[in-house]
C-alpha cells in the first residue's frame, strides 16, 4: 500500500525526459497517468528509484491530422480527451468508442493513451484496437526517433520493444475511409473492470458482402492478437459466413487461466464474442 521511496523528476519537454532517461537508465520509470504504475508501486511489485513525470510536457498532448491519411495522438493525451476529440470522432470513431469502455470516468480522466500502450498489459483494451487499425507508435530516445508498428511493439506480458531510454511520443492511426462498421465486445466480471476477453471487430462492407474484416482480441495472449483465420475466412464472403468463421477465433491464441476464467473458457468466449462483434459490426 505504501510505495518504496523514490526520487521525482519533472520533465518540461521531451528532450528533458530523454535526458533524464539517459541519465538514470533502467532505475527510472516514466510517469504518465500513474493508473497502472502506481498500483504496482504501492504493492511494491515495482520499485523504481526515479520517477520522471511527463505530466507537464504539453507537446505530448493533443491530436493532429498528419495530412497523409493518418492522425497523430500525443502519448500524454488522456483517454477522455481521445474519446471527445473531434478529429478522432470523425476519422477514427472506433478508437473513440473503445476508449470510452476503458475503466470508469476517474480512470479515463487520468489514464493516457501512451501509458496504456507502453504498459503492455494484455488485458488493456487499446492494444487490440491499435493492432486492428495497424497503427504505429513513435518512440524518441537519445538516438532520435523511430516509428514502430503495433505488431512489433507488443512483445510479451508487460513487455514492449521500447528501449529503456526511449519514450512514446505519438500514436498514429489511419483515418477510416469507406463503409466500415465496428463493434467492441468487452466481457467483464463487474461493469468497471478489465476485460476477461475483449473482441474488436471491424467490417468493411461492399454490395452486401464483407470486403475486409479485422478482428483484434484482448487478453487472449500476452500480447494483442489478430484473429487472422477469421479475417481470411470472411474476406469476400457474405455475412452469413460469420458464425462459421468465428468458430476459429481462438486459433493461435494462448490465453491464461486465472480466477475469473480458465483458458478453455476464454477460448469459448473468444468464439462467441467474435461472432457477436462481427454481427454487430456488419449490421
Amino acid at each position: 500500500m505504501i510505495p518504496a521511496t523514490f526520487d521525482y523528476v519533472r520533465a518540461g519537454s521531451v528532450d528533458e525526459a530523454v535526458d533524464a532517461l539517459k541519465q538514470h537508465g533502467d532505475e527510472a520509470k516514466l510517469l504518465a497517468g500513474g493508473h497502472s504504475l502506481l498500483p504496482l508501486m504501492k504493492l511494491r511489485f515495482a520499485a523504481p528509484e526515479v520517477l520522471i513525470d511527463l505530466g507537464r510536457v504539453e507537446q505530448l498532448r493533443g491530436v493532429c491530422d498528419l495530412g497523409d491519411g493518418r492522425l497523430a495522438i500525443g502519448s500524454m493525451t488522456r483517454h477522455i480527451d481521445v474519446m471527445d476529440d473531434p478529429l478522432v470522432r470523425e476519422h477514427c470513431g472506433v478508437l473513440a468508442d473503445v476508449t470510452a469502455k476503458v475503466g470508469d470516468p476517474q480512470v479515463r480522466h487520468r489514464g493516457t493513451i501512451g501509458g496504456a500502450l507502453a504498459h503492455g498489459d494484455a488485458a488493456s483494451d487499446l492494444p487490440a484496437v491499435l493492432a486492428a487499425l495497424e497503427g504505429t507508435l513513435v518512440a524518441q530516445g537519445p538516438n532520435g526517433t523511430r516509428e514502430i508498428a503495433a505488431s512489433d511493439f507488443f512483445v510479451d506480458y508487460l513487455t514492449t520493444s521500447l528501449e529503456d531510454d526511449e519514450l512514446v511520443t505519438e500514436v498514429r492511426v489511419p483515418k477510416i475511409v469507406g463503409p466500415w462498421g465496428w463493434h467492441y465486445e468487452k466481457f467483464t466480471r463487474v461493469a468497471q473492470a478489465w476485460a476477461i476477453v475483449g473482441v474488436l471487430a471491424m467490417v468493411k462492407r461492399s454490395n452486401g458482402s464483407i470486403e475486409e474484416a479485422r478482428v483484434g482480441l484482448t487478453n487472449m495472449a500476452t500480447v494483442p492478437v489478430r484473429a487472422s483465420g477469421v479475417e481470411q475466412a470472411l474476406a469476400g464472403h457474405s455475412p452469413d459466413a460469420i458464425a462459421d468463421a468465428a468458430a476459429n477465433a481462438a486459433d493461435g491464441t494462448n490465453p491464461s487461466s486465472d480466477l475469473s476464467a480458465s483458458a478453455e473458457y476464454r477460448e469459448h468466449l473468444a468464439r462467441v464474442l467474435t461472432r457477436r462483434a462481427l454481427e454487430a459490426a456488419a449490421r
Partner: protein
Amino acid sequence: MTAVDTPPSANVGTTKLRKEDAHLVTGRTQWTDNLQLTGMLHVAVVRSPMAHARVTKVDVSGALEQPGVVAAFSGADLADHWAGGLPCAWPVTEDMQSPTHLPIATDEVRHVGDVVAVVVANSRYGAADATEFVDVEYEPLPAVVDMEAALADGSPLADTQLDTNRSFTWQKIDGDVDAAFDSAPHVVERRFINQRLIPTAIEPRAVVCAPPREHREYTMWSATQVPHILRLMLALTCGVPEHELRVIAPDVGGGFGSKLNVYAEEAICLVLAKRLGKPIKWTESRSEGYQATIHGRDQIQDVSLAFNEDHTIRGMKVELHADMGAYLQLVTPGIPILGAFMYNSIYKMDALSFTCHGVLTNKTPTDAYRGAGRPEATYAIERLMDEAANELGVEPFELRERNWIKHEEFPYTTIAGIEYDSGNYEAATAKAKELFDYDGLRAEQQRRRDDGDPVQLGIGISTFTEMCGLAPSRVLGSLSYGAGGWEHASVRMLPSGKVEVITGTSPHGQGHVTSWSQIAADALGIPFEDIEVRHGDTAVAHKGMDTYGSRSLVVGGYAVQVACDKVVAKAKRVAAHLLEAAEDDVEFDAGTFQVKGSPDANTTMQDVALAIFAAHDYPEDMEPSLDSDATVDPENFSYPHGTHLCATEVDTETGAVTIRSYVAVDDVGTVINPQIVEGQVHGGLAQGIAQALFEEAVYDAEGQLKTGSLLDYYVPGAPDLPHFTTDRTETPATTNPLGVKGVGEAGTIASTPAVINAVVDALRPMGVNDVLMPASPQNVWNAIQAASSASTTAASAADGGAA
C-alpha cells in the same frame, strides 16, 4: 414538508433527513485515521507471508537502524505484556479447541497475515519502509486449507499445539428425526457451498491509542462497532484496569460485523502506548485488511428435507462444516450455531436435526458478517425448497404456502424451540407477486424456453425470516455466550428544554442519531431538532452492548423509549405538583401536561425541565431531576420476514447473468424512518447479491489468499446492480413497545437465495440443478457444460442400452 411543520408527536413513521449526513457528505467526518495527536507515532505490522510455519527467528535490529524508527518488537519482546490471548467470548461446547491467539505470534504463525513483529516510527511511511528490515525466518509447516480433509485421519494440524483440527461439534436435535425420514415418501438432499467472503467496509480499520495525560486513563479511538465490548476485553487482554481505559468509536465507516471484534492491532496499540508513553496510530491498508480482518461465511451445508405425500414437510437434517479459520475470534464459533434456529425458517415441521463441525484451518479467521449464520441457513432452506418443488413437480410458491406458518397461527413455537411472535407471509407474498408481475414473467419465461432463446429467463423466490434483536440475555446464557444482550439508554433533560439521549448502541452508518431522535421526540414531545444523541464513547455512554445483529433499534431503541417514558412519568409528577392537581388528573400529550377539564391549567415539558433545574418547588418525595436511565433485556428475538423475487436473464452462451428485476417486500414491523429502512434494504440487497454473483475469497492449496485486493475480489458497484423495487407490509412485533423488528441484515439474508434460485430456474431445462456461488460467468458456464455432458453421457448410455 419541513421538519418544523411536523408536530412533535408525529416523528415516528416519517422520513426525516438524517442528522448525520451533513457532516458525512461534506467531509467533516472524524475518522480514526484523521486524528493527529502531538508526538504521535505510527505502527507498521510485519505479517507472515506463509499460511503455516514455525517462526525460528525474529530479528528487529535492522529495522531499528532505519531513519525515524523509534522501536520495534517481536512477539517474544512483548509476550509479558499480554494478560491472555485475544478473546473468544463464545465457547460453544465445553471441550471446544481454541488455538492460543497472542496479538503477536511467538513461535508459530497460523495464517497469511498473522502478526510476527511491529515497527514504530515517527511517520507511517517510515514504519512501513522499515518492516522490510525485520529479519524473520520461517520453517514451513503443511497448510490446512480444506475443511473436510482437515477432519480426515492423518491430516496435518492447523495448530501444532492442538491434537485435532476439529474445534467442536455442536448438535441440536428437536423431534424424532429418524421417524421423519425413515418412512418418508420423498426426501430431497443437497450439498450447498456458502463461499468465503471478505466484508470490505468502506473505511478500513484504524486505531489510535493515547497514554494517560490529565486523567489516569488510556484513550483509544478505534474504527469499531463495539467500543464497550472492546474496552472490557482489552482491559482483560492487556492487564489495564477497565476504569483506566476509555474507548471511543468516532465516525465509523461501515463494519458489517468485521468491526465487531477485538483485534491484535488494538491490543498492540494499547501496549505500545503503555510501553512507549506516546500516542500510537495504526491504519490498515486494504490488502492488509483482507488478510488481517475477519472474513465471513465459508460453510459446506449438507441438508435434506423429508416430505409427506401431500408435500407437507416431515423433517429436516442439517450437517454443517464451518471454517473457523486459524483462530477463534470474538464470536467465531457462535456464527454457524445461530443458524440452528433458522434452518426451519418459516416452515412447519416435526423434526429438525442440526449438527455443526467447527473446523480449524490456516486461513484468516471467520466471524460475523452481515446476517451471521442466518444468511447461510436461509440460503440452504430456500434453495432446498426450490429443489424440492422441482423434484416434487409443484410450483415453488405452492410448496412454500403448503408449509409455511399461517398468519392466524402466530404466536408460533417453531420446531427449533423459539417463538415467532408475529408475521404475515401471505400478505408479503401477495404484494411481492403483484409488484413483480409474477404471472407475466412466468409467461415470458415459457416463451423464451419455447423459442430456444440463448438468453433464458429465470425467476427466483425467497420467502425468508430471520431473528434479530440480539438478544434475550438468558437465551445467550443457555448458548454459552459470554455476555448478555441487554441495552442501555439514558435521557438528560437540559434546563433549556433541550435533550440529550445517550445510547449504548454504536452506529457506524445506520443513522441511530436520527431514529433515536424521532423516538425521543415523540415520547417526550420535544422537537426533533432539540434532541442530541450521544454514543460511541465509553466516557459518555458508560454502558452498552453496541451494534450488530440488527439489534440496535429493537433493543437500543426500546431502551430509549423506556428511558423517555421514565422522564415523562417524573415530569408528570412535577407538572401535577406545579399545577396543583392530582397526578391522575394530568394528561400528557405532544409535550403538554394538561389538567383534565381545566383548559388553562397546563404546562410544557420544557417548562417542567426548567422548574426542576431551578428546583425551587417540586414534590417532597422526589429528587430534583427528570433524568433517567433504562437497561432493557428483550424478552424474545424479533422476526422480520418478507418475500423477495428476482428475475435474471442468463446468457446461456457465455454464462453471464443479469438481474432484470428485483422486488423486495419486507416486514420489519413498525417503521421509524422509511428512508433509513429503504437504505438498509438497498445496502443489504447489494451485499446479498454480491455473494450470489460476484464475491469470493479464494485460497490456493498453500493457503495463500489469491483475492488479496479489490482487483481480484469483485465488490459490485451501482452499475452492476438492478433497480430495486422495495415495499413493505407492517406487522408490528408484539415483544417490544415500539413494535419494531430490525432491518440491518434482512436484505442480505433474503437476496442471495432469490438470485441463485433465479439463475438455476433459468437453466433448469438444460438440466442444471445448482450453480456454485458466486454465479460468475465461468461458474455458470461450468454448470451448463457439466449438465450437457451429463445428458450426453446419459443419452449415449441409453443408446447403448437400445443397441
